[in-house]
Amino acid sequence: MIEPYDWAGGREAMVRFGPGSGPVVIAALPLFEEANRMRGFAATILRLLAENHRIAGVLPELPGTGESLIPSERIAISDLRAGFAAAARTAGGRAYSMALRSGALLDGSVVIRRRWHFAPQPGDALLRMLRRIHRTGDAPGYGGHRLPDTFLDELPDCHVEPARTLRLEGDTRPADRLVPGRALWRGPTPDNDLDLATLLADDLAAWVRMCEA
């Protein structure tokens, strides 16, 4: 079900999954091109959470991303974070974040009770990737996105808040759990992985239940 939510800069849309009460998981997609590769995967996790665990979920469009009417030339970290917090408030219930990759830069709001991250990407790593893409010259701007200097300048100082953290096997950074699967955010085309989505939905559900206890 698609619903609007209001934030200080206007109105955006969010997709709601599952029951209308109880805890609610707010999804933060990665920024830019990775969002296109991960949107279907994130929706699958939320659908599994709703169908298999009766836990509600929300997938918001954030200001300056996806279907937002705000162009990427005006994107700002503070607006993305404000949009995410507003979506969590609008969703109602006790909000938990599910952030994928650079979505983990956006869930620092106090509205969120606890955080759950999959393969979180800090701001400096996102900036290095954007600059590499920019230098290839394959598309105008940064992989087709025109981004303001103020946004790029902010990224090195954007950190990831403490969270339950899952990563792919083969990743050497600290994690609460390593899971098998492919890096869908890097694939040549958008793809999905039902086994990995099921595993992550089960982990999320158990974690939410533990937090609620």
Binding site: R128, R132, T172, A183, P188
Partner: protein, 85 residues
């Protein structure tokens, strides 16, 4: 070194969309840049960033050249040297 090789193999599989069987057959002499059509400039950017992420290293622009990307062996050795300092 074996763990690093496994990580590099996994990164090439994921970024280039290769099958498990195909990357499992990679050995030290398997040619990469110029030999794999999937490995274009955008894919190189993805491979380098994903290796950085998974191994917790930084790769500077002036370290990236044809020799480093010539084969699976040269790329793995480069990554190992960065990890081991």
């Amino acid at each position: 070194m074996l763990d690093i090789e496994t990580t590099v193999r996994g990164v090439l599989r994921d970024v280039l969309g290769l099958s498990d069987e195909r990357v499992a057959a990679f050995d030290e002499t398997t040619p990469l840049f110029g030999a794999l059509p999937e490995l274009d400039s955008l894919a190189v950017a993805g491979v380098l960033t994903e290796i950085e992420d998974r191994l917790g290293i930084l790769i500077e622009d002036d370290e990236v050249d044809g020799e480093m990307l010539e084969s699976f062996g040269t790329l793995t050795r480069f990554a190992a040297q960065k990890v081991l300092g």
